[in-house]
């Protein structure tokens, strides 16, 4: 797993809370829907590389979804890999 930093997730939460008021929860989102929000967020920041599904940034956010919502790894492994 190689997710984005937690502080980047805070940025995503902040952005969604401001720009997508209809979204109240992330844990119910499947990966595809989550990545749609992430893509909108990164594009709003001017980071166009998120449009490339083979980019590192795309993979990092996919890993982030796995960490938070599909996590079957140990916390120790997450601690070593994640921030």
């Amino acid at each position: 797993m190689n997710p984005v930093r937690k502080i980047a997730v805070v940025g995503l939460l902040e952005w969604i809370s401001k720009n997508k008021p209809s979204v109240k929860s992330l844990s119910g989102l499947d990966r595809e829907r989550f990545m749609e929000h992430v893509t909108d967020y990164e594009l709003a920041k001017g980071i166009n590389t998120i449009s490339n599904r083979n980019s590192d940034l795309w993979r990092k956010w996919e890993s982030t979804h796995m960490y938070f919502f599909e996590n079957a790894h140990s916390d120790q492994e997450a601690l070593a890999a994640y921030d």
């Binding site: 984005v4 930093r5 937690k6 502080i7 980047a8 997730v9 805070v10 940025g11 939460l13 902040e14 969604i16 809370s17 401001k18 720009n19 979204v23 109240k24 929860s25 992330l26 844990s27 119910g28 499947d30 990966r31 709003a44 920041k45 001017g46 980071i47 166009n48 960490y67 938070f68 919502f69 599909e70 996590n71 079957a72 916390d75 120790q76 997450a78 601690l79 994640y82 921030d83």
Partner: protein, 309 residues
């Protein structure tokens, strides 16, 4: 995949992570006990705090590790503290995360030379408080955090721009004077939304004896987030080419301007908004004039904005 959902993963910091760092978690306050959803909790808790520090800030680093439980308890229902686990474990520090921190409300003002910083924000306002001039002894840090959280409990909701003066007064009266006291940086900005982008109306103050404008953390633009960085990068490259063609070899300010525009273009390509505007702030009137003549409107507006911030 729901079956594999880790209940702790719905919270921002897991109990296991905290325990692995030797941090005590009080009964009933473990992240997993709170349940809920990351976004749901983010929306429900009216204020958020990020403490940005490096391993050089040893006393603050130790304080947070040793007193996390107390901080978590103090912040109560009015504020959530978002910490970096890698930072707490010593594997990474704030320098690696500056670009992410700058995307948060008030975060565009973050500068390395103002660390450590407490970045506090709500849906309506943000305060960026540098602890640089404060004593960071255990007792003084306790005072600092107690007064911030007491303030938040008294306003009983999210920070607003109108709280600026009261929070300032609270901190000034609470914090011990250190020598030399050259002031500390502090601002609260009102945040409004316009076309899905932050528009911040900043009211800045510097407090403390001997304070000067030099202690203000630079704010590189209330509309900083509204610029299209790829477009800006393209126009800045175009501008750099024009500047090189028009430069006077005997005028060193032209060399400086070309360098600043090149730096800004590179930062824009990398998505580093704060660095873009830091460079453009020093681009100078000659570069601005060439940009206007060239008709690169995004670059022109960005330079104007940075120079006037």
């Amino acid at each position: 995949m729901k079956d594999a959902l880790n209940p702790e993963a719905t919270s921002f910091i897991s109990q296991s992570e905290l325990l692995a760092l030797g941090i005590k978690v009080r009964k009933g306050t473990a992240p997993s006990d709170r349940g809920g959803d990351l976004l749901q909790r983010f929306i429900e808790v009216p204020n958020r705090l990020v403490i940005a520090y490096s391993s050089d800030d040893e006393s603050l680093c130790n304080y947070i590790t040793e007193h996390w439980s107390a901080l978590d308890g103090m912040s109560g229902k009015w504020c959530d503290i978002y910490l970096s686990m890698l930072q707490m474990s010593g594997d990474e520090d704030v320098y690696s995360a500056m670009s992410d921190l700058r995307m948060l409300p008030g975060g565009e003002a973050l500068r390395v030379n103002a660390l450590p910083i407490a970045l506090l924000w709500s849906a309506g306002a943000a305060a960026c408080i540098s602890l640089r001039e404060f004593s960071t002894s255990k007792a003084d840090l306790t005072k600092f955090f107690r007064h911030i959280f007491q303030f938040l409990s008294e306003i009983n909701g999210g920070l607003t721009g109108g709280d600026e003066e009261a929070l300032r007064s609270t901190l000034v009266s609470a914090l011990p004077k250190v020598q030399p006291l050259s002031g500390y940086s502090f601002f609260v900005e009102n945040i409004e939304m316009n076309d899905h982008k932050y528009i911040a109306d900043r009211g800045g103050v510097v407090v403390g004896a001997g304070a000067s404008a030099g202690n203000i953390i630079a704010n590189y633009g209330s509309q900083l987030n509204s610029f299209d960085l790829p477009l800006l990068a393209s126009q800045l490259k175009q501008l750099r080419g024009a500047l090189k063609k028009n430069a006077d070899d005997n005028d060193s300010t032209h060399d400086v301007a070309i360098g600043q525009i090149a730096t800004a273009a590179k930062a824009a390509e990398a998505g580093e908004r704060g660095e873009v505007f830091a460079a453009l702030k020093n681009a100078g009137s000659w570069a601005l004039g060439i940009a206007q003549t060239l008709g690169v409107s995004a670059a022109t507006e960005a330079i104007k904005h940075a120079m006037n911030s």
